[in-house]
Amino acid sequence: MKFHLHVGVIETSDEATLTEVLAITKLEARVLLKLAPNVVIMEREDAQEALEELQRRGLHPKVSR
């Protein structure tokens, strides 16, 4: 097992939603790793940027801090 501290994680209900999230936030190129079809790992700054962009668009994801 490996421990990755201070990364950003986005999990969606399905692959299509994740594709949509990455398209909306224009962060596809910054994905570090696709852990599963519906899970991506990012730098935490990029995950924060994704969150803010989604909130600007009136989408309010579940945020775990």
Binding site: K2, F3, L5, V9, E11, L32, L54, L59
Partner: protein, 570 residues
């Protein structure tokens, strides 16, 4: 001993605390340099109190400052990224019983170092009290430890009160028993004990003399305690007009309030005595509009999503609201909440996380230590686990030994090495996500730990990231410099290097620099030149050789073939 009436007791104080916390939720105020929020927050919070302060009376918004200090002291609020926000401890606090909450706040007040009640006595001013409530060493303005000791001494003396007592009599009792607690008056015959240094009468230009002013300074402090902390924390009943006090006994109150949920998503709390535990839960998933006796809460998608992020379920919150409401929830409200819940649950973000990655068929449920699972409570993502990033030191204490920990807030180890040809060695057990991103972008896997640079992937990555950024990422993951071969391939495939001419060509090389310069200035000559290679050498266009020779012959210049040494003319 008096029983709590309509306007006395801790239950009133707690409603004021709730109002201040609700303004914090609604405004998420920025914390300024002095450690306090801005003036607009103070005004809004003051307006929400049962009996607001009049700022023109000279002590500012004392009640708001008092409740803020207590809330911070009790751990109910925290400064997160420069903004004030409620903590998880606040949720735990309001889940406690009435007596326990009262006791916790009293303890927080007794130990509170942020407050100095002497600063709230309107008749005196404290030039010795610096900004942020620090105390000048050569003044008699009491240090936080003395303030705390005086609070405890006063509370201790309350038990000696027999029924209703005048404030003057209580101050006299305190002077007799606790004369030196707030300010030390033991006379060492020095000048220091003539004045209250740094303590003046309001508008005065000189420090107050100690003789005859104990009741003004320490007495003012005791009066300030009676008017707010002792009154609002339910120690005493206090009549501000008559200036009398009496110990108070306050049994657990019966809360009487009703909740009305309106179709416009507004929730109105009706009744004088709402249960703070219920009010708090409501305030945590809605937008509160604190306003003294009438409390309103707007159900809002963002607040609802935030509550789900703290671990509540949408169904749980809908059920809570249904239970509180005296009538069935309006259908549209119910649908909205369910809809919001569904939308929110469809995207989950950990903006700053710890990811525990399982490798191979590893089962983290059994591989991870129980204390780690209990303390961090990581959520499952497939075979992996994720939770909000803990403190690194705490994590190290919980982690199994000899497991790699990559901290992405720092530079990560360079774990790849250039190997033969276009291959890279990247041992699997050392790979972090940044290195794996580079490998996924630019290479194809050839073996367990071996990867080969791929032309199509490099070209695609260069288009998406830019050639320089792409190269920087690869170089950032390499423990050694790129080999010349790798570098050439990478920069060619990414478009950094242009095409290379390989083939036959005619050259014109001058022996003299001046001769070459003179030729370069001839417009006719330039039409036959493909590229100037150096100060004396020119690459000629295909078929231009004969024309150049003829041109040079006209100018009297000899041309040679095959050797640069002067020889017979062609």
């Amino acid at each position: 001993m008096k029983l709590a009436g309509q306007s006395q007791g801790y239950r009133n104080g707690e409603l004021d605390l709730l109002s201040v916390l609700e303004v914090v939720i609604a405004q998420k105020p920025r914390v300024l340099k002095g450690g306090l929020p801005n003036l607009s927050f103070f005004k809004a919070a003051n307006e929400a109190l049962l009996e607001p302060d009049d700022a023109s009376e000279g002590v500012g918004f004392w009640q708001v400052e008092f409740w803020l200090a207590l809330a911070r002291g009790a751990g109910l609020l925290r400064n997160a990224d420069g903004k004030l926000e409620p903590t998880a401890a606040a949720d735990e606090f309001f889940a406690l019983g009435f007596e326990e909450r009262c006791k916790r706040l009293r303890d927080a007040w007794l130990d509170c170092s942020e407050l100095n009640e002497l600063a709230f006595v309107p008749e005196i001013e404290l030039p010795g009290l610096k900004r942020a409530r620090t105390v000048d060493a050569v003044s008699d303005v009491p240090q936080p430890s003395r303030v705390a000791a005086m609070r405890r001494a006063v509370v201790k003396l309350l038990v000696e009160l027999k029924g209703e007592t005048s404030l003057a009599a209580f101050v006299a009792l305190c002077e007799k028993s606790a004369r030196d607690v707030l300010v030390n008056h033991s006379d060492d015959a020095s000048w220091r004990h003539v004045f209250y240094r740094g303590i003046r009468e309001l508008g005065g230009s000189e420090d107050l003399e100690r003789a005859g002013n104990w009741s003004k300074v320490e007495g003012g402090f005791i009066r300030a305690l009676c008017e707010l902390p002792l009154l609002r924390l339910g120690y005493i009943a206090y009549d501000a007009k008559a200036r009398t006090l009496e110990p108070l006994e306050e049994p657990s109150p019966a809360f009487t309030a009703e909740v009305v949920v309106q179709p416009n998503h507004e929730v109105v709390m009706l009744g004088e005595w709402p249960d703070p535990a219920v009010v708090w839960r409501l305030a945590r998933f809605s937008e509160p509009t604190p306003a003294r006796r009438v409390r309103k809460y707007l159900l809002d998608k963002k607040r609802f999503a935030e509550a789900l992020g703290r671990g509540h379920g949408a169904e749980e919150l809908i059920e809570l609201l249904s239970k509180l409401s005296r009538t069935p929830l309006p259908q549209n409200v119910k649908y909205s909440l369910s809809d919001w819940g569904e939308h929110t649950e469809s995207i989950r973000i950990w903006p700053d996380a710890l990811l525990i990655e399982a490798e191979g068929v590893e089962d983290l449920e059994t591989a991870l230590a129980r204390p780690l699972l209990e303390k961090l409570a990581p959520a499952k993502i497939g075979a992996h686990r994720v939770c909000a990033a803990p403190d690194p030191a705490a994590l190290r204490a919980l982690m199994p030994p000899r497991r790699p920990l990559f901290d992405y807030s720092r530079a990560l180890p360079r774990v790849m090495r250039p190997a033969r040809g276009l291959t890279l060695d990247a041992p699997r057990e050392t790979l972090h996500f940044r290195a794996r991103q580079v490998l996924a972008l630019l290479t194809r896997q050839e073996g367990a730990d071996r990867f080969t640079l791929d032309a199509a992937q490099v070209a695609q990555a260069a288009r998406a990231l830019g050639a320089k950024e792409m190269r920087a990422r690869l170089e950032g993951a390499l423990a050694e410099e790129l080999s010349p071969q790798l570098s050439l391939a990478l920069r060619s495939w990414s478009g950094e290097f242009g095409s290379v001419f390989v083939g036959q060509a005619e050259l014109l090389v001058c022996d003299e620099t001046e001769q070459a310069m003179a030729l370069a200035l001839q417009p006719e000559f330039n039409t036959w030149v493909e590229k100037q290679l150096s100060t004396t050498a020119f690459l000629l266009r295909a078929g231009a050789g004969e024309k150049v020779r003829a041109f040079l012959k006209q100018l009297g210049a000899n041309t040679v073939r095959g050797s640069l040494k002067k020889g017979p003319s062609a």
